[in-house]
Amino acid sequence: MQNGAETLEQYAKELAAELTPRLTTDLHIIAHQSGWPEDLIKVLKVDLSPTLQLEVTYPEENKTEVEDMEYGTPSQLPNAAIRPFILRAPKIIENFLETRTLPEMFVKLGVW
């Protein structure tokens, strides 16, 4: 039988599986609005780390291109997309948790 912490961790993973695609789409929209090229937008993803932290990821081979867009280069001004996304992400997650998951979480943990 699972204890409360294991149930919660399992539930967090289930939620993340649903949440990360939504966050990835939001990240793509912000990158698109910031003028990032489409092929670079496609490599950006929001993932859940092994320590259950949400993080923006991209392949190592795109690191320079992504960071050049985000922070600028000696000849190009920054077109930040990841940082604006990170500033907005808590609100998106909060809305998701409030409307979709808090009641479910309480039911699963036997609070209600």
């Binding site: 937008i41 922070y71 920054p78």
Partner: protein, 207 residues
């Protein structure tokens, strides 16, 4: 000065005046630019610092509502005896700036890092911003949201090393009531719909 312009100017003043030293010159003044200094427009003398506004985010978490009464309309109108103004509380915003240092010399690079980390601590940082009338200052909370090193040694910099540090700095701000009221007072009368869409994010197009 108006919202955004006041903070940009205050931030530039705050960063200006940094000096670095090396074997040839013990006191080299570091210039500060808004945006990257175009080689055709301005002389690029290393080291230097650039400031870019990269985001403006509504500060909804600390927004309050109500009315204030004062004699200078939140520091925008010269007080006249016996006249008071009642106006809505200002609209809260966070302004996010990228402060980037550029250096060729490692000692300059380290000196710039050391001085800017002192200016932008992760906690307890603040920026003094004067009001429109120049009669009062406000201390705005300021946070270091991120730091990254972006050194390059070849390629776009012509095989010369370029040492770069990127500081992401967030300054709390507010839009003064008259600016906010001017926006609120306007009504949308027509909406133009683009029937031929040409710019749809890839994630919204059918597979």
């Amino acid at each position: 000065m108006a919202f955004i312009l006041a903070e940009e100017t205050a931030l530039k003043s705050y960063v200006q005046g940094i000096k670095v030293g090396d074997d040839f010159s013990p006191n080299r003044t570091v210039k500060v630019w808004f945006g990257y200094p175009d080689v055709e427009v301005r002389e690029q003398t290393f080291p230097y610092i650039t400031i870019d506004l990269i985001d403006v985010v509504p500060g909804n978490e600390r927004q309050t509502y109500g009315y204030l009464t004062d004699t200078d309309y939140s520091g925008t109108i010269t007080p006249v005896g016996g006249v008071t103004y009642t106006h809505p509380i200002a609209v809260a915003y966070d302004l996010v700036f990228q402060v980037t240092t550029y250096a060729r010399h490692p000692r300059h690079d380290i000196a710039l890092m050391q001085q800017l980390f002192k200016k932008f601590p992760s906690k307890y940082g603040y920026l003094i911003v004067p009001n429109d009338l120049g009669t009062e200052n406000s201390s705005r909370s300021m946070f270091l949201d991120g730091f990254i090193k972006r050194d390059t040694v070849e390629g776009e910099t012509g095989n010369r090393r370029l040492l770069r540090n990127v500081f992401t700095v967030r300054v709390l701000s507010e839009m003064t009531p008259d600016v906010a009221a001017a926006v609120v007072g306007k009504q949308v009368t027509t909406v133009n719909i683009n029937t031929t869409t040409s710019s749809i994010p890839s994630t919204y197009t059918p597979a």
